[in-house]
């Protein structure tokens, strides 16, 4: 018998009304859950032109059909909304326990509407959902906030909250749960715009499974497979704290605001150096990888800095972006981002941009509150993180993100703003990994490395076929990676777990959980394509098109300097050939609009009328 693996909780913060709904079976089969539900409901419920900080915008918090169960690495969760940073559909994935707790409370989706008159938080418990006064925690950082909530509601409480950055509408503010973040796209700022400080869930473990016996057998098989897998073991040992060893080696570690692809003394930022300061490991609900590596700085200027992280992107954000090899400073900056509720990638990229503006005289000491933003010096970087988080001084401007900062400063500063659709580029230089670069250009949410990670370019993975990382023609690879990621994020399965040998069980687990036989591998692949197309339709409806699928000017016109690595002199030509091929393979027009034929093929007839 088909059962719902979780209901929808809808909370209107303007009226205080709380209601529950059931996901229709057709949506459950066509969109599965997680990001699939996110795009489906936002497409339906947001009118085109909805202001991201307006009351009409909606913030969704979603887990997936497998959350809270004994299966490994499937209890992640995400936020979805219209992004204040990019104006696109956005999703931001998070870990820790919150996804499981949302499921224990009985939900797969929380829809947050309207705007509270004053700061509030939600408390979900067996007694229902209450909208409570948050005045005592408004203004507090995420660590203090979460401690306060747990003390008030008990140890069996898990939380998702914003820090000062979200309250002050930093365009890349994050939602923080424990010490993990839903970082990208500014979903924390949308939460802040609703005067919503936190969601706290007090719950005990409950399962919602149509066929618990089959599910447990499959879950045990999944666990056995994963625990024996060497990729899992490697990830357990290092997390992503060694990725910079590889990216520096091949010249794709962006340095000095994407002018170089390698740090001069890059061995100083190797994973083995971070290992010396590691004090523990921490993980997400029901995941034995425990890939969160916890570091404490033992001595020096940043003594006492303590972070669950930094992981690869954050390592890069606070070293490569400003050409520093001071890893202690990166730990301090990472901790601040978690405390204040900031996306480390956009923060680091924006600071690297600010350093270049200072270098070129477009920002002066009088603009930077006396800070001298000189590449190689991490002290101003750490100070800037705090200013951005509290929107103080120069932080008021930098909190807008590189696109808007460039817009305000003018004088050609746009040439140095490294973003796509307003979202700052992450830690893989596109000129040395061009399939990754074209993923940045075409991903629905802006420049996201996770949206279609090009392991083929970066690590030599030969499926579905090998690539030359300097080749601009791999549109099929970009689509393969993007659509695969999409259905994976319906689970919500951890991105890293995809290489642990268990994905053949994914659809079977969902079938056993839901009691609906609609999740074969072929059906899941179609779900991924469907989701990506609906996200594109969302963005087209907002006025985006081919002109927005564009890498930054620097990437297109300035030769990369790789120092000792291969790839010196590379650019990404972006001469139109890739996009023509990509759109053709996608079944879109030459302007990047999904055709009626493609939308109908995917069961998205309702979106046809919106494509002009």
């Amino acid at each position: 018998m088909a059962i719902n693996t979780g209901k929808i909780l809808r909370v209107n913060l303007s009226s205080g009304k709380v209601s529950t709904e059931t996901v229709p079976e057709k949506i459950a089969t066509d969109f599965v859950g997680g990001r699939g539900y996110g795009v489906r409901y936002l497409y339906d419920e947001l009118n085109p032109g909805t202001e991201p900080f307006g009351e009409e915008n909606k913030l969704l918090m979603l887990n997936g059909p497998l959350a809270g169960t004994t299966a490994q690495a499937v209890s992640r969760w995400m936020t979805c909304t219209r992004s204040p940073l990019t104006g696109t559909f956005t999703r931001s994935v998070c870990g820790a326990d919150f996804g499981a707790w949302l499921k224990f409370a009985g939900y797969e989706m929380l829809i947050l509407e309207g705007k509270a008159e004053k700061p509030v938080y939600l408390h979900l418990s067996p007694d229902g959902c209450k909208v409570l006064d948050a005045s005592e925690i408004w203004g507090k950082d995420t660590k203090i906030t979460q401690e306060w909530l747990v003390e008030k509601h008990g140890r069996n409480t898990r939380t998702a909250c914003i820090g000062p950055a979200g309250e002050k509408l930093v365009k890349y503010a994050a939602v923080v749960s424990d010490r993990r973040t839903a970082g990208r796209g500014g979903t924390g700022a949308v939460m802040g715009s609703k005067n919503l400080k936190a969601v706290a869930i007090t719950a005990s473990r409950r399962l919602f499974l149509a066929d618990p016996e089959t599910y447990e057998k499959l879950a045990k098989e999944q666990v056995r497979t994963i625990l024996a897998n060497d990729a899992f073991k490697s990830h357990k040992e290092w997390g992503t704290t060694t990725t910079q060893d590889v990216t520096n080696e091949i010249g794709i570690y962006p340095v000095r605001n994407f002018r170089y692809g390698q740090l001069t003394d890059y061995k100083k930022v190797f994973g083995a150096e971070y290992r010396k300061m590691r004090v523990g490991d921490i993980g997400c609900y029901s995941c034995a990888a425990r890939c969160g590596k916890v570091h404490t700085v033992p001595s020096g200027v940043y003594a006492g800095a303590h972070s669950e992280g930094p992981e690869y992107e954050s390592i890069w954000a606070f070293t490569g972006s400003i050409e520093s090899d001071n890893i202690e400073a990166s730990i301090a900056a990472d901790q601040l981002c978690d405390d204040l509720g900031l996306d480390t990638i956009s923060t680091g990229n924006t600071i690297g941009f600010a350093y270049e503006l200072y270098e070129k005289g477009l920002l002066k000491k009088s603009d930077t509150d006396g800070l001298e933003l000189i590449y190689g010096n991490p002290a101003p970087m750490v100070a800037l993180v705090k200013k951005i988080g509290y929107r103080e001084g120069i932080g008021e401007l930098l909190g807008e993100g590189t696109k808007r900062v460039a817009g305000k400063i003018g004088k050609g500063s746009d040439d140095y703003a490294i973003n796509v659709k307003g979202m700052e580029l992450p830690a893989y230089e596109p000129r040395g990994a061009k399939s990754q670069g074209y993923n940045y250009a075409t991903a629905s949410i802006g420049a996201s490395h996770c949206y279609g990670y090009a392991a083929q370019d970066i690590f030599g993975a030969p499926f579905p076929h090998p690539t030359d990382r300097f080749d601009e023609g791999n549109a099929d690879i970009v689509i393969f990676n993007q659509d695969g990621t999409a259905w994976h994020e319906c689970g919500v399965a951890c991105a890293f777990s995809g290489g642990w040998g268990w994905m053949g069980l994914f659809g079977k687990l969902i079938t056993a959980a839901r009691g609906i036989d609609a999740y074969s591998d072929a059906q899941l692949e179609k779900v991924g394509e469907r989701m990506f197309n609906l996200e594109r339709a969302f963005n087209v409806r907002e006025g985006l098109g081919r002109n927005d699928d564009l890498l930054p000017l620097r990437i297109r016109t300035e030769p990369l300097h790789t120092r000792k690595a291969k790839g010196e002199g590379q650019t990404v030509s972006h001469n139109g050939e890739f996009l023509d091929k990509y759109y053709s393979l996608r079944g879109w027009t030459k302007e990047g609009v999904p055709t009626a034929k493609k939308l109908k093929e995917l069961g998205l007839d309702f979106a046809v009328k919106d494509m002009k």
Partner: protein
Amino acid sequence: MSVEINIPPSLQSLVDGVRQVEVSGSTVGECLKDLVRRYPRLKEKIFTRSDRLPKSMNIFINGASVGPRSLAIPVRDGDKIHIAYIVLGG
């Protein structure tokens, strides 16, 4: 017998920048040893002290993953081996 080994980007600097190397061997292990014979700097990257592949490395034969515990797997003339790192970044 000739087998092609494809070198991942991060190791190409240790093989004079080449992406593919033709080697001889009837198993994955023999092929990798032939590779290391020609490019000794690869040894510490491809083999652990106990002469096994590191956990972070995956081997593909003709596009299919055979996992890092693959040294004894036989190969045929014309097979293509890919060495790929398993690390992902985030």
